[in-house]
Amino acid sequence: MAVETQVEMPMARAMTSRERRWRSWPQTPSLVFLVVLIVVLCVTTPGFATAANLRGVIEQVAVVAIVALAVNQVVLAGEIDVSTGSLVAICSFVYGNVALSQGGAWLPLCAALIAGGAIGAVNGVLSTYGRVPSIVATVGTQFILRGIVLLAGGAQVLNLAVDSRSFGAGAPLGIPTSIVVLAAIFLAMQWLSSHTTFGRDIYAVGGNSRAALATGLPIHRIRLLTFVLSGVSCGLAAAVLLGQIGQLQATAATGLELKVIAAIVLGGTRITGGRGSNVSPVIGAVLVGVILNALTLNRVSGAYELLVLGALILAAVSFEGVRQRLSGERN
């Protein structure tokens, strides 16, 4: 049970309400970190500050960011979903096969969304009504789903036709479709969080589940729905992923789940729930994308890629920790 420490508080420092709110935004430190990094890269790395390159970076993080936006809601509600790698793979499999047999993009998308949502619901039921800790339940489904994809799709070669790739390839309005999809999801989540009862209830449940229960909020149902959301987003991410690469690979999106979680926590969402914003996962994902891009641009050997990434993640995380300590906040 989370009980606040009853340490007597000092007289509050004079700070305007707005300044305090800006400072207490969960995404502020990572945003500052990202801006500084981008400024440094613009100066030091030729070829970084071109529109095409930046567009490329966002395109590449689109899949992670789309999933992270939804998993962010799961985390905000106080749960976690580490099955997203396999979920994206199985949704890709569904999308690919429907696209192959029926053609088009919308019908496969619907199929992938339904498949993702259904599996997300299973995750949700297990973690809420089944009382299996979500980290275990979703590790379990991650194993199961990957096994199924490998068995069903391992030997299958799927080359998608151009009209089935419209969610990840091409730029009909001058902006790559995957960026449009990402932006749409971001706006949808933003609307969900700020203007719907469900969206606010997620914060309530994650921030204080006991009080939420006492208020009569259906906490199980709310959490379950966030898992469904996560599943549906995996369906969408699968459509974008397949659109981008054009072929189905049974090992696709392996390890995606940790990238997603990394994006979420890097962006400043509290891993135990209740605190964070929709900007967080996007910033986190873009941060990782920018770092990887800068490494390739600077022709850093692949051997150092993970080292630099790890050191920067640690730096960003430490920065947040030090900030919290200085401002006297608790995690």
Binding site: P46, G47, F48, T50, A52, N53, G56, Q60, V63, R146, G147, L150, L151, G153, G154, A155, Q156, V157, N159, A169, L241, Q244, I245, G246, Q247, Q249, A250, T251, A252, A253, T254, L292, N293, T296, L297, R299, S301, G302, A303
Partner: protein, 332 residues
């Protein structure tokens, strides 16, 4: 936990153990061949398994195909150990690491199990024979020559997209590419070697980032079949088709659309069905005791006679080169 429960558990475990101790003596299942892939559920290895089963039917061998789900070398060692415990007749491996499987294979040999390697070799002292799909030198030469044909030039900067940095086969090919290029085309400069981690998306992104910053690159070698379609997608997306040449290893079914639309001119690979097929013939010869390097050949069913290129290496043949004209003939 109550003490009595503990007692019951310990007792029943012991009873079970002693009861099953008697069944140890049962005869080992004969003529089961363990066919170990780098990972299962990959079109390449599934095709190899198909070939192995075909040969198995011809030779009366039971082929048991297995491998880790990812390129995990410890899991490969585990699977070999289990086969050893089961006393299968023979084990044929494609190794994720040349040395890591050596101890397990030596244990197998000590238990009287025939061992061999195919596709990706293990340390020479851990197996009597290796079935090589193509010689490393030959592969290096083929790749460079294909590149020169596709790019129309040998002068300039070239990029290599590899699997993972630890991949032994890929590292040998890269070495041979550098060696052959240095000897034959001194103006060819390998500007960077980047890993695509056997992941289509990652391979695409790596190529995308690199080519974005270095559009003057003349060509990209893909030394793993999985990277090729990804790199082609990247080149296409940047509108560099025709300016940046792509070539390398390619699984026909994966590269067919790119060969057809002209973004890829040539790619090379051996026939994975054949390599599985040939591996079983070699195993069969080992089991029968008829494998003889001195003869210089080993009979391999429909493939005819395969040549020993060293005392312990059998060569499958020259790599196949796929173009838009011949690609439809291959069913893998």
């Amino acid at each position: 936990m109550g003490t009595w429960i503990r007692a019951v558990i310990v007792g029943s475990t012991l009873a079970l153990l002693s009861a099953c101790g008697q069944s140890t003596g049962s005869a080992p299942t004969n003529a089961v061949v363990g066919m170990l892939a780098k990972f299962t559920s990959d079109p390449y290895f599934v095709a190899a398994n198909k070939g192995a089963e075909e040969a198995g039917r011809e030779l009366g061998l039971t082929v048991e195909f297995n491998g880790p789900v990812d390129a995990n070398v410890a899991a490969q060692a585990d699977i070999i150990d289990r086969w050893v415990r089961r006393r299968v007749a023979a084990i044929a491996v494609s190794a994720n690491d040349p040395n890591a499987l050596a101890p397990a294979l030596k244990r197998a040999a000590a238990a009287g199990i025939k061992t061999m390697s195919w596709d990706a070799d293990v340390a020479p002292d851990a197996r009597p024979v290796f079935l090589s799909q193509a010689s490393f030198e030959g592969m290096g030469k083929t790749l460079v020559e294909m590149m020169v044909r596709s790019a129309g030039t040998a002068a300039g900067d070239f990029l290599i997209i590899t699997a993972v940095l630890t991949a032994p086969n890929q590292n040998r090919w890269i070495e041979e590419i550098r060696k052959y290029a240095a000897a034959t085309y001194p103006q060819m400069r390998i500007a960077a070697v980047l890993p695509g981690d056997e992941d289509l998306e990652k391979s695409k992104n790596v190529a995308l980032n690199y080519l974005q910053a270095n559009p003057g690159t003349k060509g990209v070698f893909c030394v793993t079949g999985i990277a090729t379609p990804g790199v082609l997608e990247a080149v296409k997306q940047l509108g560099l088709t025709g300016k940046v040449a792509v070539t390398g290893l390619g699984v026909p079914s994966l590269i067919r659309p790119y060969l057809k639309d002209g973004s890829l001119e040539e790619a090379a690979l051996w026939n994975p069905v054949d390599i599985g097929y040939a591996a079983m013939y070699i195993v069969n010869a080992q089991l029968k005791g008829t494998l003889s390097p001195q003869s210089g050949y080993v009979a391999a069913g429909r493939l005819g006679k395969l040549r020993f290129i060293a005392n312990d290496i059998v060569l499958l043949g020259e790599p196949l080169i796929f173009t838009k004209d011949n690609v439809d003939q291959f069913e893998f």
